[in-house]
């Protein structure tokens, strides 16, 4: 038997040897480690010991209870304290540390990011930078070039010619290059509309992530999130949601309580537009600054209103916030690029099959003529919002992928006026999560919660759209 490095105080040592004497099962750790985990109240080890030592469970519990009753502080705390003392003893005389007295630029920057007075303007500046990089460079310049020059003039005509020369049947031609064709819809949306937006977003996000800004943002935002039943930690899934809500819904796992996870999942599904959607929505609203303000104001207002109500209605303990604040670092270019590339690859693997599937499904529905019926069902709702009938198709597509729906709406932007654009953008932002996000919601939150969220969002999105269009009409505003 090896000699333990740390000798704990006599009461603990006595308990440890009594416990190890009771342990007969097989464990991947030494019996002493098992006994220590039991003392520290490790849940996983307790469950395992209960299985392995069933006949002696009562005796083991009695020993633990005896130790606990004699301690004034949690045992885990006492053990950690003794370990720390032992490690300090080991390091004494071996390590020397000099404390630099100079305040570095990065310390000052860090302080400025945290302080509400300087942090808020810095956050706005970061968001503005993000908007110009993703919203303007990605969603307008790159998308415009890829869509009209690369796809519109080179790839699509070529695909059309090829298809028409090889395939004689019109319905199969439509499957490939028709209005819902795999080339015209799936490939064009995936590569020309979505990829540049998501790519620029992932690049910007990797830079922000590697600089160490996110924990500081969490700290800055903590008090703002508390009334929503969330803590500062939730800033990470929320910001990620602006990239992809599906990914963000997965990341809500990092939140501690179920209550927080449910609230965050719902807010992501409701009020946080993903990067593709955001880019396209901003594209639709471009040139109508009033509409941008109405859209952003509605989304933020609803985020806080619904979060506040959810925090009131959902039972459970309010969250507590704690987080390590790592030092600020200059991001390493290679790791930023690598990370962006991996995420883009992940995204393509994720969406391309989905896009192809959706466009095949749409083609099928279109061929048998069901699509018109489904669209017709949505049309009264769309008309009530004062929107053109064609937007019904875009909303329907929105369920298959949010970005898909937004991109469909983008095609319709020229037949809508400012008010209609604002109403359409708000409704689409709130409207159902995409199929992938809903799948993740089912998986992460269970079908009851996921369906409840969906059942709330569907009518709510149209209700808000209707209220907005009424309000704008009554006030006589034209955006």
């Amino acid at each position: 038997m090896s000699i333990p490095i740390i000798a704990y105080t006599p009461p603990f040592e006595a308990a440890l040897s009594r416990l190890t004497a009771e342990l007969r099962g097989s464990y991947p750790l030494s019996l002493r480690s098992v006994a220590l985990l039991l003392l520290a109240g490790d849940e996983e080890m307790q469950a395992r010991v209960a299985r392995e030592e069933a006949p002696r469970a009562a005796q083991i519990e009695r020993i633990l209870e005896e130790v606990r009753s004699r301690q004034t502080a949690p045992i885990a705390y006492r053990l950690a304290q003794q370990r720390q003392a032992a490690s300090r003893e080991l390091l004494r005389g071996v390590i020397r540390q000099e404390r630099p007295n100079r305040v570095h630029l990065r310390d000052r920057l860090s302080r400025a990011m945290i302080d509400p007075w300087t942090g808020a303007p810095l956050l706005l500046a970061a968001l503005a930078g993000l908007y110009f990089f993703v919203g303007v460079l990605g969603a307008q310049v790159l998308v415009g070039w890829l869509e009209s020059a690369v796809f519109g003039q080179v790839l699509l005509p070529w695909a059309e010619r090829l298809t028409h020369s090889i395939v004689p049947w019109t319905s199969i031609q439509a499957l490939l290059v028709g209005p819902f064709g795999v080339f015209t819809l799936a490939f064009r949306y995936a590569f020309a509309v979505i990829l540049p937006i998501v790519g620029t977003f992932f690049l910007a996000f990797a830079l922000i992530e590697d600089s160490g800004y996110l924990p500081r943002l969490a700290l800055l935002i903590d008090r703002l999130f508390k009334p929503l039943g969330l803590n500062g930690r939730a800033v990470i899934p929320m910001v990620l949601g602006f990239g992809c809500d599906t990914m963000a819904t997965l990341v809500t796992r990092t939140l501690e309580t179920r209550r927080e996870r449910v609230i965050a999942t719902m807010l992501l599904a409701l009020a946080i537009p993903c990067s593709a959607q955001l880019g396209v929505v901003l594209g639709i609203l471009a040139g109508h600054p009033g509409a941008v303000i109405v859209w952003a104001g509605s989304a933020v207002g609803i985020l806080f209103l619904i979060g506040f109500l959810a925090a009131r209605l959902l039972p459970g303990e309010s969250p507590s916030f704690y987080m390590e604040i790592p030092p600020l670092r200059t991001p390493r270019l290679t790791s930023v690029i690598l990370k962006t590339a991996t995420r883009m690859e992940w995204y393509l693997r994720e969406v391309l099959p989905m896009f192809v599937l959706v466009s095949v499904a749409l083609w099928l529905v279109d061929q048998i003529g069901v699509l018109e019926h489904v669209v017709r069902l949505l049309q009264p709702a769309v008309r009530a919002l004062g929107l053109p009938d064609q937007t019904a198709t875009a909303f329907l597509l929105g369920f298959f992928r949010r970005d898909y729906g937004a991109a469909g709406l983008y095609d319709l932007r020229n037949i809508m006026d400012g008010n209609q654009r604002a109403v359409a953008a708000v409704t689409l932002t709130l409207f159902v999560p995409c199929l992938a996000q809903f799948g993740v919601m089912l998986h992460e939150r269970g079908w009851k919660t996921a369906l409840a969220i969906l059942a709330f969002i569907l009518p709510f999105a149209f209700l808000v759209g209707w209220l907005l269009s009424r309000t704008l009409a009554v006030l006589g505003v034209s955006l």
């Binding site: 606990r68 945290i114 969490a218 700290l219 507590s320 704690y322 604040i325």
Partner: protein, 146 residues
């Protein structure tokens, strides 16, 4: 309140020091009955303004050594050593605090209290909210660093 000059505890509403003064009914100041030193009476507005100036409850004079405080009451910048946790229950919260290395004898320094409590322990910095900060008991070690 406590006189900021001599440390005498007194009730500012009794106004023993200023019966003759005609302004005393609504006066925003309080005089120490022992030394006569004039200080601003605590009020929500005063605390708010102090908070803006970054010297709310925090910026007051350094707390004398050997007094047990919650981390949330420690003045910003003052070195202290951790005494332990306010609650003795075996909970998720205490596990978190242990994970941050907040063990008795470890030295700790509060860096800021707004928008959240940020403190330095060893070579790391952590942020916690008020509820957790109130769980950490500390003992001040030395004067506030400039």
């Amino acid at each position: 309140m406590k006189c900021t000059f001599c440390g005498f505890e007194f009730d500012p509403d009794q106004r023993q020091a200023c019966p003759a003064c005609p302004l005393s009914t609504n006066c925003g100041k309080a005089c120490c009955p022992r030394c006569g030193y004039e200080a601003v009476r605590p009020s929500p507005l005063v605390e708010l303004v102090r908070g803006w100036l970054g010297r709310g409850a925090s910026g007051r004079a350094a707390v004398p050594r050997s007094e047990t405080l919650r981390l949330s009451d420690l003045p910003v910048g003052q070195q202290a050593s951790v005494l332990g946790l306010a609650s003795t229950s075996e909970s998720r919260q205490s596990a978190r605090l242990v994970a941050m290395g907040l063990l008795p004898g470890v030295s700790i320094r509060l860096l800021r209290r707004s928008p959240a409590y940020v403190f330095a322990v060893g070579n790391s910095q952590f942020a916690v909210d008020e509820r957790l900060a109130a769980q950490i008991l500390v003992q001040p070690e030395q004067e506030v660093e400039p």
